[in-house]
Symmetry: C2
Subunit: 251 residues, 2 copies
Protein backbone atom coordinates (compact mmCIF):
# COMPACT_ATOMS: atom_id res chain seq x y z
CA UNK A 1 0.00 0.00 0.00
CA UNK A 2 2.84 2.37 0.66
CA UNK A 3 3.40 2.66 -3.00
CA UNK A 4 5.40 5.83 -2.73
CA UNK A 5 3.11 6.96 -5.46
CA UNK A 6 3.01 10.63 -6.31
CA UNK A 7 -0.24 11.17 -4.55
CA UNK A 8 0.93 14.70 -3.99
CA UNK A 9 1.61 15.27 -7.62
CA UNK A 10 5.07 16.43 -6.69
CA UNK A 11 6.22 16.73 -10.24
CA UNK A 12 3.42 18.23 -12.14
CA UNK A 13 2.53 21.05 -9.84
CA UNK A 14 5.50 23.29 -9.36
CA UNK A 15 8.84 22.21 -8.04
CA UNK A 16 11.00 24.15 -5.69
CA UNK A 17 12.74 21.38 -3.79
CA UNK A 18 10.18 21.61 -1.06
CA UNK A 19 9.93 19.19 1.77
CA UNK A 20 6.91 17.02 2.14
CA UNK A 21 5.10 19.35 4.51
CA UNK A 22 5.90 22.28 2.26
CA UNK A 23 4.52 20.49 -0.76
CA UNK A 24 1.33 19.61 1.04
CA UNK A 25 0.94 23.17 2.24
CA UNK A 26 1.42 24.46 -1.27
CA UNK A 27 -1.12 22.10 -2.72
CA UNK A 28 -3.71 22.93 -0.13
CA UNK A 29 -2.83 26.60 -0.31
CA UNK A 30 -3.35 26.70 -4.04
CA UNK A 31 -6.69 25.02 -3.69
CA UNK A 32 -7.74 27.58 -1.13
CA UNK A 33 -6.65 30.73 -2.95
CA UNK A 34 -8.08 29.42 -6.18
CA UNK A 35 -11.46 29.03 -4.54
CA UNK A 36 -11.61 25.27 -4.80
CA UNK A 37 -11.92 25.27 -1.03
CA UNK A 38 -14.08 28.15 0.01
CA UNK A 39 -14.01 30.23 3.21
CA UNK A 40 -16.04 28.64 5.96
CA UNK A 41 -15.62 25.18 4.54
CA UNK A 42 -14.06 22.64 6.89
CA UNK A 43 -11.47 20.26 5.50
CA UNK A 44 -11.77 16.65 6.42
CA UNK A 45 -9.98 15.42 9.49
CA UNK A 46 -6.27 14.91 9.86
CA UNK A 47 -6.48 11.16 9.73
CA UNK A 48 -8.59 11.02 6.60
CA UNK A 49 -6.55 13.68 4.83
CA UNK A 50 -3.19 12.19 5.68
CA UNK A 51 -4.37 8.76 4.62
CA UNK A 52 -5.69 10.05 1.33
CA UNK A 53 -2.39 11.73 0.61
CA UNK A 54 -0.39 8.75 1.80
CA UNK A 55 1.56 10.83 4.25
CA UNK A 56 1.96 10.70 7.97
CA UNK A 57 -0.26 12.71 10.22
CA UNK A 58 2.66 14.79 11.41
CA UNK A 59 3.62 15.87 7.91
CA UNK A 60 0.03 16.84 7.22
CA UNK A 61 -0.24 18.68 10.51
CA UNK A 62 2.89 20.69 9.80
CA UNK A 63 1.40 21.68 6.48
CA UNK A 64 -1.74 22.89 8.21
CA UNK A 65 0.37 24.87 10.66
CA UNK A 66 2.00 26.63 7.72
CA UNK A 67 -1.37 27.51 6.24
CA UNK A 68 -2.62 28.70 9.60
CA UNK A 69 0.47 30.89 9.97
CA UNK A 70 -0.47 32.56 6.71
CA UNK A 71 -4.03 33.09 7.86
CA UNK A 72 -5.59 30.74 5.35
CA UNK A 73 -7.09 28.34 7.88
CA UNK A 74 -7.78 27.97 11.56
CA UNK A 75 -8.20 24.73 13.40
CA UNK A 76 -9.79 23.88 16.70
CA UNK A 77 -10.57 20.64 18.43
CA UNK A 78 -13.99 19.25 17.83
CA UNK A 79 -14.70 21.56 14.88
CA UNK A 80 -11.81 20.79 12.61
CA UNK A 81 -9.75 22.88 10.24
CA UNK A 82 -11.72 25.45 8.35
CA UNK A 83 -10.83 27.93 5.66
CA UNK A 84 -10.66 31.46 7.01
CA UNK A 85 -12.53 34.39 5.49
CA UNK A 86 -10.54 36.13 2.81
CA UNK A 87 -9.89 39.26 4.76
CA UNK A 88 -7.75 37.25 7.16
CA UNK A 89 -5.47 35.86 4.48
CA UNK A 90 -1.96 37.28 4.34
CA UNK A 91 -2.37 38.24 0.73
CA UNK A 92 1.00 39.92 0.57
CA UNK A 93 2.90 36.93 1.85
CA UNK A 94 5.22 35.89 -0.97
CA UNK A 95 4.06 32.29 -0.82
CA UNK A 96 0.38 33.17 -0.86
CA UNK A 97 0.96 35.58 -3.70
CA UNK A 98 2.87 32.90 -5.60
CA UNK A 99 0.04 30.42 -5.06
CA UNK A 100 -2.41 32.96 -6.39
CA UNK A 101 -0.33 33.61 -9.48
CA UNK A 102 0.30 29.93 -10.06
CA UNK A 103 -3.36 29.60 -10.85
CA UNK A 104 -5.44 31.87 -12.96
CA UNK A 105 -5.57 35.09 -10.97
CA UNK A 106 -8.71 37.05 -11.57
CA UNK A 107 -8.25 40.28 -13.49
CA UNK A 108 -9.46 42.30 -10.51
CA UNK A 109 -6.64 40.85 -8.45
CA UNK A 110 -4.09 41.97 -10.98
CA UNK A 111 -5.75 45.34 -11.08
CA UNK A 112 -5.64 45.65 -7.31
CA UNK A 113 -2.02 44.66 -7.17
CA UNK A 114 -1.03 47.32 -9.66
CA UNK A 115 -3.14 49.80 -7.79
CA UNK A 116 -1.16 49.06 -4.67
CA UNK A 117 2.11 49.37 -6.53
CA UNK A 118 0.96 52.72 -7.84
CA UNK A 119 0.38 53.87 -4.32
CA UNK A 120 3.59 52.57 -2.85
CA UNK A 121 6.44 52.49 -5.27
CA UNK A 122 6.43 56.12 -6.45
CA UNK A 123 6.54 57.28 -2.84
CA UNK A 124 9.19 54.70 -2.06
CA UNK A 125 11.23 55.99 -4.97
CA UNK A 126 10.89 59.52 -3.63
CA UNK A 127 12.14 58.39 -0.24
CA UNK A 128 14.95 56.48 -1.89
CA UNK A 129 16.02 59.61 -3.75
CA UNK A 130 16.45 61.35 -0.44
CA UNK A 131 18.11 58.54 1.47
CA UNK A 132 20.09 56.45 -0.97
CA UNK A 133 23.73 55.73 -0.31
CA UNK A 134 26.47 55.20 -2.83
CA UNK A 135 26.14 51.47 -2.26
CA UNK A 136 22.53 51.57 -3.38
CA UNK A 137 23.47 53.51 -6.47
CA UNK A 138 26.16 50.99 -7.35
CA UNK A 139 23.74 48.13 -6.98
CA UNK A 140 21.12 49.82 -9.11
CA UNK A 141 23.67 50.74 -11.74
CA UNK A 142 24.89 47.16 -11.99
CA UNK A 143 21.36 45.80 -12.20
CA UNK A 144 20.52 48.30 -14.88
CA UNK A 145 23.52 47.30 -16.96
CA UNK A 146 22.66 43.64 -16.57
CA UNK A 147 19.11 44.39 -17.61
CA UNK A 148 20.24 46.13 -20.73
CA UNK A 149 22.60 43.32 -21.58
CA UNK A 150 20.24 40.40 -21.12
CA UNK A 151 16.79 41.90 -21.76
CA UNK A 152 13.66 40.60 -20.10
CA UNK A 153 13.48 37.74 -22.55
CA UNK A 154 15.86 35.66 -20.46
CA UNK A 155 15.81 34.79 -16.81
CA UNK A 156 19.01 36.68 -16.07
CA UNK A 157 17.44 39.88 -17.32
CA UNK A 158 14.32 39.40 -15.24
CA UNK A 159 16.43 38.77 -12.18
CA UNK A 160 18.29 42.00 -12.86
CA UNK A 161 14.96 43.80 -13.10
CA UNK A 162 13.99 42.38 -9.73
CA UNK A 163 17.34 43.35 -8.27
CA UNK A 164 16.94 46.91 -9.46
CA UNK A 165 13.59 47.26 -7.74
CA UNK A 166 14.81 45.53 -4.61
CA UNK A 167 17.82 47.80 -4.39
CA UNK A 168 15.70 50.87 -4.95
CA UNK A 169 13.23 49.94 -2.27
CA UNK A 170 15.97 49.02 0.10
CA UNK A 171 17.28 52.54 -0.42
CA UNK A 172 13.97 53.86 0.88
CA UNK A 173 15.25 52.94 4.30
CA UNK A 174 11.86 51.71 5.42
CA UNK A 175 11.92 48.02 6.39
CA UNK A 176 8.18 47.70 6.06
CA UNK A 177 8.26 48.92 2.50
CA UNK A 178 11.02 46.46 1.77
CA UNK A 179 9.08 43.61 3.30
CA UNK A 180 5.91 44.62 1.55
CA UNK A 181 7.46 44.87 -1.84
CA UNK A 182 9.44 41.67 -1.59
CA UNK A 183 6.36 39.62 -2.21
CA UNK A 184 4.99 41.96 -4.80
CA UNK A 185 8.10 41.98 -6.92
CA UNK A 186 8.25 38.20 -6.75
CA UNK A 187 4.71 38.04 -8.07
CA UNK A 188 5.49 40.59 -10.73
CA UNK A 189 8.50 38.55 -11.69
CA UNK A 190 6.34 35.53 -12.27
CA UNK A 191 3.95 37.74 -14.16
CA UNK A 192 6.70 39.15 -16.35
CA UNK A 193 7.72 35.67 -17.29
CA UNK A 194 4.18 34.90 -18.28
CA UNK A 195 3.79 38.18 -20.08
CA UNK A 196 7.00 37.54 -21.93
CA UNK A 197 5.79 34.19 -23.08
CA UNK A 198 2.55 35.62 -24.35
CA UNK A 199 3.96 38.39 -26.51
CA UNK A 200 7.66 39.09 -26.31
CA UNK A 201 9.35 42.42 -26.00
CA UNK A 202 6.98 45.19 -26.81
CA UNK A 203 9.14 48.00 -25.64
CA UNK A 204 12.56 48.41 -24.16
CA UNK A 205 11.99 48.89 -20.41
CA UNK A 206 15.51 50.12 -19.73
CA UNK A 207 14.92 53.83 -20.47
CA UNK A 208 12.06 53.95 -17.96
CA UNK A 209 14.31 52.48 -15.32
CA UNK A 210 17.12 54.72 -16.33
CA UNK A 211 14.99 57.79 -15.67
CA UNK A 212 14.19 56.59 -12.18
CA UNK A 213 17.83 55.89 -11.55
CA UNK A 214 18.90 59.32 -12.73
CA UNK A 215 16.43 61.03 -10.44
CA UNK A 216 17.65 58.99 -7.50
CA UNK A 217 21.26 59.85 -8.32
CA UNK A 218 20.51 63.56 -8.30
CA UNK A 219 18.37 63.22 -5.17
CA UNK A 220 15.41 64.54 -7.09
CA UNK A 221 12.52 63.15 -5.05
CA UNK A 222 9.78 64.60 -7.17
CA UNK A 223 11.44 63.39 -10.34
CA UNK A 224 11.86 59.89 -8.93
CA UNK A 225 8.22 59.82 -7.95
CA UNK A 226 7.09 60.87 -11.40
CA UNK A 227 9.44 58.53 -13.21
CA UNK A 228 8.38 55.59 -11.12
CA UNK A 229 4.73 56.37 -11.62
CA UNK A 230 5.30 56.38 -15.33
CA UNK A 231 7.27 53.14 -15.17
CA UNK A 232 4.44 51.36 -13.43
CA UNK A 233 1.88 52.81 -15.79
CA UNK A 234 3.79 51.42 -18.75
CA UNK A 235 4.26 48.07 -17.06
CA UNK A 236 0.54 47.85 -16.54
CA UNK A 237 -0.07 48.63 -20.19
CA UNK A 238 2.20 45.77 -21.13
CA UNK A 239 0.41 43.39 -18.81
CA UNK A 240 -2.12 41.13 -20.42
CA UNK A 241 -5.27 41.61 -18.45
CA UNK A 242 -7.32 38.76 -19.65
CA UNK A 243 -10.96 39.13 -20.51
CA UNK A 244 -12.01 42.46 -19.17
CA UNK A 245 -14.98 44.33 -17.95
CA UNK A 246 -17.55 42.29 -19.82
CA UNK A 247 -20.01 42.42 -16.97
CA UNK A 248 -17.35 40.78 -14.85
CA UNK A 249 -19.66 39.34 -12.25
CA UNK A 250 -17.12 36.71 -11.32
CA UNK A 251 -18.31 36.34 -7.77
Amino acid sequence: MNKKSGALSDEKSGNKALRLHGAIARNLGRRIVSGRYRPGQVLEGEIESSEQLNVSRSAYREAVRILAAKGLVTSRPRVGTRVSPRHEWRLLDPDVLAWIFDGEPEPEILQSLFELRTLIEPEAAALAAKRRTQGHLDGMRAALDAMREHTLAVEAGRVADQTFHAELLSASGNPFIVSLTNGVTAAVHALTEFKQRARPLRRDPVPDHERVYEAVVTKDAEGARTAMRELIRLALLDTPIRRRSAKGKKR
Copy 2:
Protein backbone atom coordinates in the same frame (compact mmCIF):
# COMPACT_ATOMS: atom_id res chain seq x y z
CA MET B 1 9.73 14.17 35.36
CA ASN B 2 6.85 15.48 33.39
CA LYS B 3 6.45 18.23 35.82
CA LYS B 4 4.11 20.23 33.69
CA SER B 5 6.19 23.11 34.86
CA GLY B 6 5.84 26.39 33.07
CA ALA B 7 9.05 26.02 31.19
CA LEU B 8 7.45 28.07 28.48
CA SER B 9 6.47 30.82 30.81
CA ASP B 10 2.95 30.51 29.53
CA GLU B 11 1.55 32.91 31.99
CA LYS B 12 3.93 35.73 32.23
CA SER B 13 4.47 36.40 28.57
CA GLY B 14 1.20 37.19 26.88
CA ASN B 15 -1.82 34.98 26.85
CA LYS B 16 -4.15 34.47 23.99
CA ALA B 17 -5.31 30.90 24.56
CA LEU B 18 -2.63 29.64 22.23
CA ARG B 19 -1.84 26.02 21.80
CA LEU B 20 1.52 24.71 22.81
CA HIS B 21 3.06 25.04 19.37
CA GLY B 22 1.68 28.55 19.08
CA ALA B 23 3.14 29.52 22.42
CA ILE B 24 6.54 28.16 21.48
CA ALA B 25 6.42 29.97 18.15
CA ARG B 26 5.54 33.19 19.90
CA ASN B 27 8.34 32.87 22.40
CA LEU B 28 10.92 32.10 19.76
CA GLY B 29 9.48 34.73 17.46
CA ARG B 30 9.75 37.40 20.10
CA ARG B 31 13.32 36.47 20.78
CA ILE B 32 14.10 36.74 17.08
CA VAL B 33 12.41 40.06 16.36
CA SER B 34 13.83 41.54 19.52
CA GLY B 35 17.32 40.66 18.38
CA ARG B 36 18.05 38.18 21.09
CA TYR B 37 18.58 35.64 18.33
CA ARG B 38 20.32 37.34 15.46
CA PRO B 39 20.11 36.67 11.72
CA GLY B 40 22.51 33.97 10.65
CA GLN B 41 22.56 32.39 14.06
CA VAL B 42 21.56 28.73 14.14
CA LEU B 43 19.31 27.56 16.94
CA GLU B 44 20.21 24.38 18.66
CA GLY B 45 18.80 21.13 17.35
CA GLU B 46 15.25 19.91 17.69
CA ILE B 47 16.07 17.39 20.36
CA GLU B 48 18.00 19.75 22.56
CA SER B 49 15.49 22.55 22.17
CA SER B 50 12.45 20.40 22.80
CA GLU B 51 14.10 18.85 25.84
CA GLN B 52 15.01 22.21 27.26
CA LEU B 53 11.44 23.42 26.85
CA ASN B 54 10.02 20.16 28.16
CA VAL B 55 7.90 19.69 25.10
CA SER B 56 7.73 17.01 22.49
CA ARG B 57 9.70 17.25 19.33
CA SER B 58 6.54 17.49 17.26
CA ALA B 59 5.26 20.50 19.14
CA TYR B 60 8.61 22.19 18.73
CA ARG B 61 8.76 21.31 15.06
CA GLU B 62 5.33 22.75 14.43
CA ALA B 63 6.45 25.95 16.09
CA VAL B 64 9.46 26.12 13.81
CA ARG B 65 7.20 25.57 10.79
CA ILE B 66 5.16 28.58 11.86
CA LEU B 67 8.25 30.72 12.14
CA ALA B 68 9.49 29.49 8.78
CA ALA B 69 6.13 30.33 7.23
CA LYS B 70 6.60 33.89 8.44
CA GLY B 71 10.09 34.05 7.01
CA LEU B 72 11.86 34.29 10.35
CA VAL B 73 13.86 31.10 10.01
CA THR B 74 14.82 28.46 7.51
CA SER B 75 15.84 24.94 8.32
CA ARG B 76 17.73 22.35 6.36
CA PRO B 77 19.13 18.97 7.22
CA ARG B 78 22.70 18.94 8.33
CA VAL B 79 22.83 22.68 8.95
CA GLY B 80 19.97 23.17 11.34
CA THR B 81 17.47 25.97 11.80
CA ARG B 82 18.90 29.38 11.32
CA VAL B 83 17.48 32.86 11.69
CA SER B 84 16.84 34.46 8.31
CA PRO B 85 18.14 37.90 7.34
CA ARG B 86 15.73 40.65 8.26
CA HIS B 87 14.71 41.50 4.75
CA GLU B 88 13.06 38.09 4.48
CA TRP B 89 10.89 38.56 7.53
CA ARG B 90 7.20 39.12 6.90
CA LEU B 91 7.22 42.32 8.89
CA LEU B 92 3.61 43.11 8.08
CA ASP B 93 2.29 39.80 9.27
CA PRO B 94 0.01 40.59 12.21
CA ASP B 95 1.73 38.08 14.45
CA VAL B 96 5.20 39.31 13.64
CA LEU B 97 4.08 42.85 14.15
CA ALA B 98 2.51 41.93 17.47
CA TRP B 99 5.72 40.22 18.57
CA ILE B 100 7.66 43.33 17.67
CA PHE B 101 5.32 45.53 19.63
CA ASP B 102 5.26 43.19 22.60
CA GLY B 103 8.87 44.04 23.15
CA GLU B 104 10.44 47.44 23.07
CA PRO B 105 10.14 48.44 19.45
CA GLU B 106 12.88 50.76 18.36
CA PRO B 107 11.78 54.32 17.66
CA GLU B 108 12.81 53.98 14.02
CA ILE B 109 10.44 51.06 13.64
CA LEU B 110 7.58 53.15 14.93
CA GLN B 111 8.64 55.93 12.64
CA SER B 112 8.75 53.62 9.65
CA LEU B 113 5.36 52.21 10.42
CA PHE B 114 3.79 55.63 10.55
CA GLU B 115 5.60 56.53 7.38
CA LEU B 116 3.97 53.57 5.69
CA ARG B 117 0.57 54.52 7.06
CA THR B 118 1.08 58.02 5.73
CA LEU B 119 1.69 56.58 2.30
CA ILE B 120 -1.17 54.14 2.29
CA GLU B 121 -4.12 55.24 4.31
CA PRO B 122 -4.76 58.67 2.77
CA GLU B 123 -4.82 57.08 -0.68
CA ALA B 124 -6.95 54.25 0.62
CA ALA B 125 -9.36 56.81 2.04
CA ALA B 126 -9.50 58.52 -1.33
CA LEU B 127 -10.35 55.24 -3.01
CA ALA B 128 -12.92 54.50 -0.34
CA ALA B 129 -14.59 57.84 -1.00
CA LYS B 130 -15.07 56.82 -4.59
CA ARG B 131 -16.12 53.23 -4.03
CA ARG B 132 -17.90 53.03 -0.71
CA THR B 133 -21.35 51.49 -0.50
CA GLN B 134 -24.12 52.35 1.90
CA GLY B 135 -23.14 49.31 3.95
CA HIS B 136 -19.69 50.71 4.51
CA LEU B 137 -21.13 54.04 5.54
CA ASP B 138 -23.42 52.38 8.04
CA GLY B 139 -20.55 50.43 9.53
CA MET B 140 -18.38 53.52 9.82
CA ARG B 141 -21.22 55.51 11.32
CA ALA B 142 -21.85 52.86 13.96
CA ALA B 143 -18.18 52.60 14.81
CA LEU B 144 -17.93 56.34 15.08
CA ASP B 145 -20.86 56.51 17.46
CA ALA B 146 -19.40 53.73 19.58
CA MET B 147 -16.10 55.55 19.64
CA ARG B 148 -17.69 58.70 20.86
CA GLU B 149 -19.62 56.87 23.51
CA HIS B 150 -16.81 54.79 24.97
CA THR B 151 -13.69 56.86 24.23
CA LEU B 152 -10.28 55.33 23.68
CA ALA B 153 -9.82 54.92 27.40
CA VAL B 154 -11.69 51.62 27.37
CA GLU B 155 -11.26 48.56 25.24
CA ALA B 156 -14.66 48.92 23.61
CA GLY B 157 -13.71 52.32 22.32
CA ARG B 158 -10.42 51.11 20.91
CA VAL B 159 -12.20 48.26 19.19
CA ALA B 160 -14.59 50.77 17.65
CA ASP B 161 -11.61 52.77 16.43
CA GLN B 162 -10.21 49.66 14.83
CA THR B 163 -13.57 48.84 13.30
CA PHE B 164 -13.83 52.29 11.79
CA HIS B 165 -10.48 51.94 10.07
CA ALA B 166 -11.18 48.40 8.98
CA GLU B 167 -14.50 49.42 7.49
CA LEU B 168 -12.95 52.37 5.72
CA LEU B 169 -10.19 50.29 4.21
CA SER B 170 -12.59 47.59 3.24
CA ALA B 171 -14.47 50.28 1.35
CA SER B 172 -11.35 50.91 -0.71
CA GLY B 173 -12.25 47.72 -2.53
CA ASN B 174 -8.64 46.64 -2.73
CA PRO B 175 -8.05 43.31 -0.97
CA PHE B 176 -4.32 43.90 -0.75
CA ILE B 177 -4.82 47.14 1.06
CA VAL B 178 -7.19 45.41 3.42
CA SER B 179 -4.72 42.63 4.09
CA LEU B 180 -1.87 45.05 4.49
CA THR B 181 -3.65 47.26 6.91
CA ASN B 182 -5.07 44.47 9.01
CA GLY B 183 -1.78 43.90 10.65
CA VAL B 184 -0.96 47.55 10.91
CA THR B 185 -4.16 48.49 12.65
CA ALA B 186 -3.69 45.61 15.06
CA ALA B 187 -0.27 46.93 15.95
CA VAL B 188 -1.62 50.42 16.26
CA HIS B 189 -4.33 49.10 18.52
CA ALA B 190 -1.74 47.64 20.83
CA LEU B 191 0.13 50.88 20.63
CA THR B 192 -2.96 52.92 21.46
CA GLU B 193 -3.47 50.85 24.54
CA PHE B 194 0.07 51.51 25.60
CA LYS B 195 -0.21 55.15 24.72
CA GLN B 196 -3.39 55.39 26.70
CA ARG B 197 -1.74 53.89 29.72
CA ALA B 198 1.13 56.33 29.52
CA ARG B 199 -0.84 59.54 29.37
CA PRO B 200 -4.58 59.33 28.98
CA LEU B 201 -6.78 61.27 26.64
CA ARG B 202 -4.87 64.17 25.23
CA ARG B 203 -7.38 65.10 22.62
CA ASP B 204 -10.72 63.88 21.43
CA PRO B 205 -10.01 61.84 18.31
CA VAL B 206 -13.62 61.71 17.16
CA PRO B 207 -13.65 64.99 15.22
CA ASP B 208 -10.69 63.85 13.10
CA HIS B 209 -12.51 60.67 12.25
CA GLU B 210 -15.71 62.53 11.66
CA ARG B 211 -14.06 64.66 9.01
CA VAL B 212 -12.83 61.59 7.17
CA TYR B 213 -16.28 60.08 7.40
CA GLU B 214 -17.95 63.19 6.04
CA ALA B 215 -15.65 63.30 3.04
CA VAL B 216 -16.33 59.65 2.30
CA VAL B 217 -20.07 60.24 2.55
CA THR B 218 -19.92 63.04 0.01
CA LYS B 219 -17.57 61.06 -2.23
CA ASP B 220 -14.97 63.76 -1.84
CA ALA B 221 -11.79 61.84 -2.59
CA GLU B 222 -9.43 64.75 -2.16
CA GLY B 223 -11.10 65.73 1.09
CA ALA B 224 -10.85 62.20 2.40
CA ARG B 225 -7.20 62.06 1.52
CA THR B 226 -6.47 65.30 3.30
CA ALA B 227 -8.54 64.45 6.36
CA MET B 228 -6.89 61.08 6.70
CA ARG B 229 -3.47 62.56 6.33
CA GLU B 230 -4.26 64.95 9.12
CA LEU B 231 -5.66 62.18 11.28
CA ILE B 232 -2.47 60.18 11.00
CA ARG B 233 -0.34 63.21 11.64
CA LEU B 234 -2.21 63.89 14.86
CA ALA B 235 -2.02 60.25 15.86
CA LEU B 236 1.72 60.34 15.40
CA LEU B 237 1.94 63.44 17.56
CA ASP B 238 0.09 61.62 20.30
CA THR B 239 2.38 58.64 20.07
CA PRO B 240 5.09 58.48 22.65
CA ILE B 241 8.27 58.11 20.68
CA ARG B 242 10.60 57.25 23.44
CA ARG B 243 13.99 58.91 23.73
CA ARG B 244 15.00 60.65 20.52
CA SER B 245 13.73 64.01 19.41
CA ALA B 246 16.51 65.74 21.27
CA LYS B 247 18.36 67.17 18.33
CA GLY B 248 15.25 66.71 16.25
CA LYS B 249 16.87 64.14 14.03
CA LYS B 250 13.54 62.75 13.04
CA ARG B 251 15.22 61.16 10.02
